[in-house]
Every structure is written in structure tokens, then in C-alpha cells.
Amino acid sequence: MPEWKALVRERMGSLGLAPLQEEAIVTELASHLEDVYEEACAQGLCKTEAIERSLAQVADWHSLLRKIQRAKHKEETMMNRRTKTLWLPGLISLTAAMVFLTISELVSLQPRFLAPGFFAAVHTSTTSTNLPLVAYLPWLGLLPFCGAAGAFLSRRAGGQRPARLAAGLFPWIALFSLVVFLTLIGQIVPFKHEWFGFVTELLLVSVPPAIALLFGVIPFLKEARPAALPSSRS
């Protein structure tokens, strides 16, 4: 009987993986060849024929090597997968939200868009930071698109529902975390809270953006219909 492990090593070459991992793969493939060989012998084939049958299991060792290498680069791919399904869509969603916020601020606060006296009426001092509603409301209107972009990109990359939700709501998560962080800092560095203003700010920063983003995310929480499969009407 041939030395199957040596044969696999010789024909396939190095996988370029960690020695233990490579050894495990070679052992596994060699044991498969051994099983095929023994089955062939048990069926009454002579040794030469049994060896031929075993070797026929692999037509192109180089192609097998490449396929295994592709499949075994686990860490890199796992990281890529998380990056593709969560971090990248989330960052795109966040960037879009921030860009829209900047644009809303720049455009909405231009005097030509505001009737005389309008700004004073709308620019209500709702919070301690004087967040202008005139910029905030258009931004809220644009947030569903940011949420949709994050969730869509995550779904396209094969993200599961939680990843799609997190990617779509990423701007809200980031914003809310920032507010919580600043609040904690506020607890450490003593300053006078105007509690009404603070609660209003917290609500404005947390609830409406989350709802707006969710509007965009919800359509992409459904599984996409596989393109290759026809729909069933039965």
C-alpha cells in the first residue's frame, strides 16, 4: 500500500498554512485516499487498480491546492465578512448621516432659504446647545436613506438580520453612545444641568433619528429573494 500522506504532500505541495493545520489537512486527504483504496481492494480489484482508483479522486492537484488555500484562510475571511456585513455598511451609513447633517446645516441656514423672521420663529432654542430645528428636520427626513443604505449593503454582503439592523442603525448607535459618553463626562466634570433642556436634547438625539433610520432599515430586514430561483405560487 502506498504511503498516502507522503503522496499527498508530494503531489499537492505546500498549502502555506500553519504546520499543524497543514498536517491535519494532509492526514485527512490521505485517509480518504486510503479508504478509497481499501474499498477497491475489498471489491476485488488488484493493488494497481485500487491505487489508480484512489488517484483518480484528484484530477488536478494544483487546483485542489488553490481551492483548499482559499477555503482555509479563515481569520482573514472572517474579518472580511464582519467588515463587509457590519463595519463597512455601518460606516457608510454613519458617513452619509453626517454628510447629510452638514448639508442640512449649510443649506437650511442660508438666509435665502428663510423668510424674514422665519429663522427666529423656527430656530427655537429647544436645547441647551441651541440645536436648530430648521437643520434638524430635513436631516431627519434624510436619515431613512442612510439606514436603508447601511442595511442594503449589509444584506448584499450576506449579513444576517442583526448585522443589517446594526449597520442601518449605526449612525444612531454612534450618536447615542456619544451622548451617553458626554453625559458621563458631565457627571464627572461638574456643571449645572438644565434638566429640561438636557432631557429634550436626549430625546431629540435618540428617539427621532432611531425611528427615521428604522424606516429605511425595515425593508431590508426581509430576506432577498434568490435571483436564481423562481417564486412559487402554489
Binding site: 485527512e28 484528484v58 485542489l64
Partner: protein, 113 residues
Amino acid sequence: MTKRVRSKIARGSAEVAILMLLAEQPLYGFEIAKRIEERTKGALSFTLASLYPMLYELEKRGWVHGRWEANQAGRDRRYYGLTPAGKKGLVPLRREWKVFFRALDRLAGVVHA
């Protein structure tokens, strides 16, 4: 013996075939290939070159998990079993394939009518 399914169709269904088999019990590579060949009466068959890259892909995806164990003959073999993620992933796959084959069935019905 049933005619062998053409390779392109077989490739698409191979993953589902492996997962469905592993949903029943953990098996090692050679056993997987044998069982699939037996159950499909030779319509689907795997060689070492087609089976292991697919098993490793499924393992990377976290759908199957391999561990070394002694087989009945006392030899160490790498047994593959479905992970919870694999069980969860198999449900829509089964459904999609059912829809696909039902559609083909209907199409064949029209053709033969």
C-alpha cells in the same frame, strides 16, 4: 443505476446534499461521499477534490464543525457535524430547493402534457 446528474447542477445541489446528510449525524469525508452516492443511486457523487474544499468552505462559514475521532475500524477520521448556525442556515436552503424543484416539476408537467 440512475444517470449521473450533469456537473453544473450537481455542484449547486452539493452543498445542500452535504448539509442535509450532516443534519442526521456527524460523518467523515469518505462516509459523506459514500452515503450521497448510495442514496442518490449514483446520480450525485463526490471525489476527494470536490468534497473537501466544500467541507472547508462550510467550516469557514461556521456551518459545520470537524473533530478528530476514531471510526469503527479504530482509525482517526475527521467527523463533520452541523453547528447551530448550519442548522439555521439549512432551513431556508431546503425551502429554496423545494421551491426550485417544484417549479421544475411544474415545468416538466407542462412539457409532458
